[in-house]
């Protein structure tokens, strides 16, 4: 095991290489630029390819092209570039092409504040493209070390589900320097629970079977399998078809191959003080969850019965964690409240759900503890948050 004091971007690069990624294409954008830079340095050293693209749309399309040619590929961006991925991500979802996409969140809308963390793409990770009729898988690490683990995991899932898998981080996580351990061999990878799935090639003649089965190898071009893929609704052979029933079957696969195999990734979450029926459950993901963690520990020391639910697997949304009757507080890096809407949907019917937003900067531990106290005393949390029902 090699140890480094390095950034999340460094960890993602090493994770990608461990997972077998040999192709990266991106377009410079704060705060994902450093990842592209790290890839441009490291990939050639392992015989991999870094290509800078003319825009994000081309970057992601090149990655899908390389993946269709049999390489494991990855791209990374931030919010304003992520919206240009709508086109290629839709194509990759429909063509069932494995790919890993990292979004390092900053403050929006549009360019917003370029160098500060934000969480404004929670729903864009679920709906990255138009048309509906698909599920996405999204993982949200909150440390540099976890960035590496979730990148490896994303590659693993993308091969087995044959689809793009999304990693949602933010500026603090990808830019921040932390202690990082990089495994040096397979045993050490196993020790760290890193899973790797090799690229396989669909031999056809059924390239788009209408089942929810996993582990159907993806269409790879250049092996003369007769494999074809397109942006249209496919027949089992991959031919374009304009027919409602065929489309229904295609949509069934895109939706249920994910929904019916959530056990492969829904163990990615973290709970703290959740075993003694806490009165208040704080829900968060990404960098705010680290402050929440500290605040919850301190709150417990002060006798407040608060628990923390940190989500890593964001999509499909893990409803199963929201069975407890309690007050819920969603802590997010945005002012409009995004995660809180899913929490509201998932909790038992008469649960109270509250929202505490900040953006560009993390909430502070004293602010959080003050909010916990107010909520536990049934006082309004007016300054930075509001009760969802009051919207």
């Amino acid at each position: 095991m090699k140890r480094f004091l390095e950034t999340g971007n460094f960890a993602i690069t090493e994770g990608a290489i461990l997972a077998g990624c040999r192709f990266f294409s991106g377009y410079p954008i704060t705060p994902a630029t450093e990842l592209a830079e790290a890839m441009s340095l490291r990939l050639p050293q392992v015989g991999g390819f870094y290509l800078q693209a003319e825009d994000e749309c081309a970057a992601c399309h090149m990655c899908v092209g390389a993946s269709l040619g049999g390489m494991k590929a990855m791209t990374a961006t931030s919010g304003p570039g992520y919206i240009l991925y709508a086109d290629p991500l839709g194509w990759a979802l429909g063509c069932e092409t494995p790919l890993v996409v990292l979004n390092s969140g900053r403050v929006g809308p549009v360019s917003g504040i370029t160098g500060a963390p934000g969480q404004g793409e929670f729903y864009l990770m679920r709906y990255p493209t138009q048309g509906g009729n698909y599920e996405t898988i999204c993982l949200a690490p909150n440390t540099a070390q976890e960035c590496m683990a979730m990148t490896v995991e994303a590659f693993y899932l993308s091969e087995r589900f044959r689809m793009p898998v999304l990693v949602l981080a933010d500026q603090l996580i990808t830019d921040g320097f932390e202690d990082i351990s990089v495994p040096e061999n397979e045993d050490e990878m196993k020790e760290m629970e890193f899973r790797v799935w090799p690229r396989k090639v669909c031999q056809g003649p059924e390239f788009y079977p209408f089942t929810d089965d996993l582990d159907i190898p993806p269409v790879v071009l250049g092996h003369n399998t007769g494999g074809v893929c397109s942006d249209w609704t496919p027949t089992v052979e991959g031919y374009d078809i304009e027919e409602v029933e065929a489309h229904h079957k295609h949509a069934y696969r895109l939706i249920y191959k994910v929904r019916n195999h959530r056990d492969l990734f829904n163990h990615h979450y973290q709970k703290k003080f959740m075993d003694d029926d806490p009165d208040l459950i704080v829900v968060s993901y990404g960098s705010p969850s680290r402050v929440v963690n500290t605040a919850v520990i301190k709150a417990r020391e002060q006798g407040l019965k608060v628990g923390s639910l940190r989500l890593i697997n964001l999509w499909p949304f893990p409803d199963e964690h929201f069975t407890q009757r309690a007050k819920y507080l969603s802590v997010e890096l945005n002012w409009d409240g995004e995660l809180v809407r899913e929490v509201q949907r998932a909790v038992p019917k008469d649960s109270e759900v509250h929202f505490l937003g900040t953006c560009g900067d993390l909430p502070t531990t004293p602010d959080l503890i003050e909010t916990f106290e107010k909520l536990l005393k049934n006082e309004p949390i007016s300054r930075k948050g509001w009760v969802l029902e009051e919207w």
Partner: protein, 282 residues
Amino acid sequence: MEYRSSEITSKYLRSKKIPSTACSGCGLGMNHKIVVQAIKELGLEVADVVWGTSIGCAGRQTFATWKGDGFAGTHGRAYAIARGLRIALPPEKKIILTVGDGDAFGIGLMHLIHAARSNADITVIVNDNLGYQSTGGQYGWTTPQGSHTDSSPYGMFEHNLMSDGMDVLEILKGAGATFLARHVAMDGALAVETVKKAILNKGLSLVHMPYPCPTNFASRELGSRNQVNIYRWIKERAAPLGQEKENTVWATGIWYDASNSRPEFHEFIHETVEKIRRTGTL
């Protein structure tokens, strides 16, 4: 040249997809035949070619007609997809794209320019039906000036990439493409010879091939869906390079041939990466 269903159809094309769903009288089949004939005359096998297409009449009607591996990309992005694919595929595999004018010269022009810049070994056949015909017939970026379409009811008056002495091929030459040519669909065997050279160039080749659309373009511009009229209309406006007349819109033949004069993308990138991998430096 054989123009009927024949040996080349059974050898290279899928019986499920040929004939295509193109309109009656559409000239796309002529372009398609020219490309397959060129492949045959070069002695290439099905396994030697990955065939890509895109959105619009040309993309949809040629998608999956090739017996081997293929894809249809999103609108205008086939050139970016093909560049990723070019890196991943062995250099001896040919990548041939049959796309439309809107795809190559409208929505995809920037990606096409960057494919030319990198001189990726890709053969792009731009099947130009003089506008956006699959959406009913709107003008495009190579529609002849003055043409009446659904979105230019007074005649197309915007400046475009084939008006005022401009030629879209100039842009691609400037960007670094190494083989550029133009033929109309009726050029037959002449066009086959050109496409063969395009495929043989180790680099980005593009052949611009206007073809007749009786259903939409002709019905608006000529007031007739009679195929003879639009075939004649295109032929009258095409002349070999050097023999242009006053009304010539499309000068045909090999417009620029710098085949194998610049490093090819796949080979250049692979060699460079291999050098860095071995020595740690350029």
